[in-house]
Every structure is written in C-alpha cells, then in structure tokens.
C-alpha cells in the first residue's frame, strides 16, 4: 500500500560540466501524500521531463533527497542499488500514449509486472483481473490492445501502473490524446485509485480541462517548483 507518499527536498540536476553545463533542476521541493493527486505544470523546457525522469529513477539527480514511502532512494549522490526493482515495485507509470505491449492481451499486459516481480502466473492474473474490474474493463480482459478504444487502453495502462500497489504513480500527460469526456473519466479514475490504494499520484499535464481538478498544483519554471492551491473541482 501507499505508505508515506513521495517527498523531494532540494533536488537539483545538472547536465554536462564546465562552460557547457546546464542546470535543468535548480532546487525542487515536493511532497505528495498517499491518496493525493497533484498536478505538475510547466512550459516546455521548464524541467518537467527531467523531474519526471528523476522521480522515475531513470536518471540520477545531481544533489538533493528523494524519499519514496519509507525508503530513501536518493540522498546527495547516494542511491538505492537496484533501480530496476525500484521502478518495478515502487513506481507506477502511466504514459501519454498507453504503450501497451501489443503482443500481450489485456490481462497479461497488466499481469506482466507482478510476473516480473516473481509472482506465479495465476496469482498475477488474479491481481490484474481485480484491477481491471475496478477500472471497469474486465469485459476486455482477453482482448488484444489493438482491439481496444483509446479510453479502454488508457484504463488498462492505469491498471498496469497500479498492479504492484506502488506508493507513487507518475502520469505523463495521461489525458493528452483524449476528448474532454474521456479525459475527465481518466482523472476521476486516478482520483478513485489514489484514494482506494493510498497511492500518491503526480500528473504532468498541459491539459487545461483537467487542471481545475487538482487540489494542489506544482508549477515548474526554469527548474524551480512553486506550489499553489488548486480548485479541486469535482472529485471531493
């Protein structure tokens, strides 16, 4: 379950060195509590993607501290050894496009993560079906990704992000390809899942439709975040 969400303190990321060095993140502070959905908004080149990659344990920050649940995952150059296992067990990803594995059916797309973590196939599939039912796509459990609508694919992608019950989910523009109705449906699902599974969810977005739904928003500009209260419309 969720634990203590995610906490980031003084996170900096520098690319290159010497005269050509670029400071992409200049001191990011962030805290997302379990069961909370926050927005991360910023213009192109503001450092959103770099922050997302640092949070996703894909690239190493230069300095700062990241705490995921009860575990310190980065602390001024020190980091957990097995980043692959960290990504698999502690972080859920939902992308702009669903990026489902085209040669696996819906159930196995979701069950793949617990299988990779060593769960027996039957147990992993049971977990997957439970989530697919929660997301109301259980009737497409045997379908291939190419047979699903865009909204169904995104719900399956959310199920995949949640299946290992990670303390945090990183959602990168999850509503970008969807119309208003479907975008709002996805945000509703993210809020429900955050509450149900005590998961901290960070949604990176440009989507004006969904920005009013966040209770808290982090604006990022020139590598620095500023927190502000959101409208929190519709999902109380």
């Amino acid at each position: 379950m969720g634990g203590k969400g995610i906490r980031i303190e003084g996170l900096k990321k520098r690319y290159g060195s010497g005269d050509t060095a670029v400071d992409a993140l200049k001191g990011v502070d962030m805290h997302v509590a379990p069961g909370e959905v926050v927005g991360l908004i910023g213009p192109s080149g503001s450092g959103k993607s770099t922050l997302l990659k640092c949070l996703g344990a894909v690239i190493d920050p230069t300095v700062g501290r990241m705490v995921l649940g009860d575990e310190i995952i980065f602390d001024d150059g020190w980091k957990v050894r097995n980043l692959r296992a960290l990504r698999r067990d502690k972080i859920g990803f939902v992308f702009q496009a669903p990026y489902l594995i085209p040669f696996l059916d819906v159930t196995d797309n979701v069950a793949l993560l617990p299988m990779l973590a060593g769960s027996p196939n039957a147990e992993a599939r049971a977990k997957a079906l439970e989530l697919l039912t929660a997301l109301d796509v259980q009737h497409r459990a045997r379908a291939m990704p190419s047979q699903l609508s865009g909204g169904e694919q995104q719900r399956v992608a959310i199920a995949r992000g949640l299946v290992n019950r990670p303390p945090v989910i990183l959602a990168d523009e999850p509503t970008a390809p969807l119309d208003s109705e479907r975008a709002m449906a996805v945000v509703r699902i993210l809020n429900e899942m955050a509450r149900k599974f005590e998961t901290a969810i960070i949604v990176v977005t440009h989507d004006e439709k969904i920005i009013p739904t966040f209770k808290r928003i982090y604006h990022i500009r020139d590598g620095v975040t500023h927190e502000e209260a959101g409208e929190g419309r519709g999902f109380d």
Binding site: S49, K53, V58
Partner: protein
C-alpha cells in the same frame, strides 16, 4: 513467467512463418550442397564396392585406373593370379565417352569386363534389376538404369552396335556417370580403335618406312600392320585375395616381382576422396561457408528489423523493471524459432528437391543434425547485434521529453 518471445511470435506469426520459409529455402540449398558432396563420396565408394576387388594392379607410378590413365599388358593377370594370396584376378578397362542410342547420346563410363562365369568375376555388375548378364563374347551390354537405356536398346560405341541385355543400378563412375558394361575384347578395341581414314594413313606411313617394308623379308609389313591395329592393353587388373592374406603383404609382393603399382581398398579410397574429388569438395566447402554467412546476415537483418520495430515496447519493458536478460532471451528465442522454422522448411525442401538433381545427392541424417545445430548457432550469433541494440535502449525513451 510468460514467454514474451512466444507471445510475440504468435502475434506476428505470418511475419515469422514467411521469413522462416525464405530462410528455409537458403538452408535447403545448403543441405543439398552438403548432399552433393556426400553423393560424390558415395559414388566413389560405390565404384570401389561394385568393382568387387580387394586390390587394383595398375601401371607403375600411376594413380590409375580412376584418377589417372593406366595401361598394362593384358596378359599380366595370368602371372598375378599365380602369386601367393591371390584368389582371383581379372582384366578391366574403363573409358568415359558419349554412348549413342538412336538420335540421343548419354555420357557414360564404358567398362570392359573379362569373360567368365557370372557372379564370380571381379569388375562385373554384382546384381541386375532386369535382364541378364553378358553371355556372349561380343556386342552385348549391361547398362545402369541412370543411362535411361532399356532392355533391347541398340547402343553405338565407336563403330560397333551393342544390344542391352541387362540393367543394373548405382553402378557409377567417381564423377557420377552411369556405367555401360561390354565384353573386354570389345572395350579394348573401342579404347584404341581409330577411324578408317586414320587407319589408312597409318598403313601408308608404315609402308613408306623402309625399316618395316623390306623387299627381302616377306610378311614383315603385314605383321607390323597387324600389331598396330590390335590393342593388347588394359587399364588395370582387379584382384581378389584368398581369405587370411593381408592386402599390404600381397601388394608388396606384386609390386616387387611384377614391377607394377598396387593399391589396396584403403589406398584407393584415399585416392578417390583425397585427390579425385578434393577440389570439388573444397568448392562445395566454400559454397557452404558463403551460404552460412549469407544465412547469418539475413537472420541478423531480420531480427534487427523486428527489434527496431519494438524499440518503444522495449523501452517500456525496461522502465517497468524488466531484466536485461529477459529482453535478451526474448530476442534470442525469436532468432532460434526463426532458425527452427527455416531448418524444417529447408529439410523438407532438400528432401523433395534432391531426387531431381542429375547427380546423386545423399542427404545423411548426421549432416541434418549437424546442420540443425549449425543453424541454431548461426541464429544465436546473428541475434547478438539486435540484443546489443535492445540493451542500449534507454528506458527514458518511454517517458519522452
């Protein structure tokens, strides 16, 4: 854990099957090439087996009668037959030529076999599939069925006509030409028989030579001309040993007393395989190497392309925590499956195509087994490039930005 490779193959089975079929045709050609070499070796061994000889007595310091020309007097076999350890000795001639039948002609090895009792003489075809052995001293023939001749056909060899009285099978020369057996005397004549114009010119030259045409020596000219128009030579004497006699000892004895070269079965096999078909086998070996390289390149290209198509999925798999070895195993398993499909198609193709080749193609199970493992090894090696590329994929590519 589910098999990612298996699921991907099932999802894109058409791509794998059709690619495997293309690869299979290449593997089929490779198996046939190996079969051609095996066929050549088998032809050589069949030639030795079917001759019924334990030893071959040939002209001194030659590799005759199959690899080089050899010429020895046709009365030498009597002396050889009398030597210790010799059970049987028979003259034989070999001559490769075009044998005509009506309007067509067939390349064949004409074998002159000494008269004797059927089944006891070395050099005779050991079995027939139709008709009978040669029973007359002249103008009868037994042909291998690969010549296409039938019983009763009339063959023309030089200026004489022969009737096919028997048909045999797998009687071929070392180069795969089917054999036609005729009586020894006819074969001796055929080997050195000149055309009428040449005979006439030869007589004129002899008549003009004062050494042969002496007024004071009546009959000399006729005797010389008679000696010039007959052939008292054969290519080899085929020898069978008495039980209990070592071939090497008997061969040494003949070599010492008759001043002839003698080859045992082992030595003759070495000549046929090591010398006669050595160049061909090197040629085939080169083809096999080239085909193996081409197959590897094709598999590498296909697997690389298939992997390139999945870069985004691989990035996602890595991002969500898939081990590198799981991704590497997926790519290698796909390459191996491609190899297995290719091998099955290739083996079936080779099996059906081999009998259509004009020369004997021998597909040996051991070659197929070796070929199967070679294909797997090539496919595994060929997948290395794609694996290296997949392992370099940055999981951040799934996030973008």
């Amino acid at each position: 854990m589910i098999s990612l490779a298996g699921r991907d193959i099932l999802h894109a089975w058409g791509k794998f099957v059709f690619t495997g079929m293309g690869l299979g045709l290449l593997i089929g050609v490779t198996l046939v090439m190996a079969g051609v070499y095996r066929g050549m070796v088998d032809d050589g061994k069949a030639l030795l087996d079917n001759s019924g000889a334990d030893m071959w007595v040939v002209q001194k310091d030659t590799l005759g009668p199959y690899a080089e020309s050899s010429s020895i007097h046709d009365d030498l076999y009597r002396g050889i037959r009398a030597m210790p350890g010799i059970g049987h000795a028979a003259n034989v001639t070999y001559l490769t030529m075009q044998v005509r039948q009506d309007a067509r002609d067939v390349r064949a090895m004409v074998v002159g076999i000494a008269a004797g009792e059927a089944g006891t003489m070395a050099g005779w075809p050991p079995y027939l599939v139709a008709g009978r052995q040669i029973t007359r001293g002249h103008y009868e023939a037994v042909a291998d069925i690969a010549t296409g001749f039938r019983l009763g056909d009339r063959l023309t060899i030089r200026r004489n006509q022969y009737t096919v009285v028997g048909l045999t099978r797998r009687m071929v020369s070392s180069s795969g030409d089917p054999m036609v057996f005729i009586p020894l005397k006819d074969a001796q004549e055929a080997q050195f028989l000149k055309d009428n114009d040449a005979i006439w010119q030869s007589r004129r030259r002899t008549e003009a030579n004062p050494a042969f045409n002496r007024p004071g020596v009546p009959g000399l000219l006729d005797a010389v001309i008679a000696s010039q128009s007959t052939n008292a030579y054969v290519n080899a004497v085929l020898v069978r040993l008495k039980p209990g006699h070592a071939p090497d000892e008997v061969a040494e004895s003949i070599h010492r007393w008759k001043r002839l070269t003698v080859y045992t079965r082992t030595q003759m096999e070495d000549i046929l395989i090591g010398k006669l078909i050595a160049t061909s086998s090197k040629q085939i070996g080169m083809f096999l190497v080239i085909l193996a390289i081409v197959s590897a390149a094709i598999v590498a290209f296909i697997i690389y392309t298939l992997t390139m198509d999945k870069i985004r999925e691989i990035a996602v798999l890595k991002l969500i925590g898939t081990r590198n070895r799981t991704i590497a195993a997926m790519i290698m398993q796909q390459a191996l499956v491609l190899g297995v499909i290719g091998f099955v198609v290739g083996k079936i193709t080779a099996t059906f195509v081999a009998p259509l080749f004009p020369k004997y193609v021998l597909l040996m199970p051991s070659d197929s087994v070796a070929g199967f493992f070679a294909v797997l090894a090539i496919c595994a090696l060929a997948s290395v490039v794609a694996i290296r590329m997949a392992l370099k994929v940055d999981p951040a590519e799934a996030i973008g930005g």
